[in-house]
Symmetry: C2
Amino acid sequence: MIPRLTDAERAALVDLLPEWSLAKDRDAIERRFAFADFSEAFAFMTRVALLAEKHDHHPEWSNVYNRVTILLSTHDAGGLSARDIRLAEAIDGLA
Amino acid sequence: MIPRLTDAERAALVDLLPEWSLAKDRDAIERRFAFADFSEAFAFMTRVALLAEKHDHHPEWSNVYNRVTILLSTHDAGGLSARDIRLAEAIDGLA
């Protein structure tokens, strides 16, 4: 079992990942991205897919034309863990 | 404005696209796919993305690890059109 984030780690999220917000009905973080068109959105998704495989941690995500929504949570933790923070930081590094 | 499917065309969907079902709260069709892992799921998504660009018609879709859900509807028709059928048939051709 992977440990969930502590209260102190959660409090630090606002500064650490200012573009991400806590999901409403899940112990998860999410971020929405908008691009010029589908081609740019899917190019970004491809880079995120490579990151996900590298981290062995995968997003729950959706795409509608130029928009991409990414939700991160850790199944083996039953909620947010350090793995989500690391992947979110890596994704932010692309954007 | 693109014409929506007629009643006769809708009645034919069961035979034409047996793997697809009507969405519950949208005038749309959807299909769920399951793969061995994320890598296979995303490889499939990449092929669907190429089809979407070729057809100039894009899915609303989501992915969680090995699962992919695709919903097709035509914004410019306010619901299902022949474009959705053509793209669904092309996607079935990959699977």
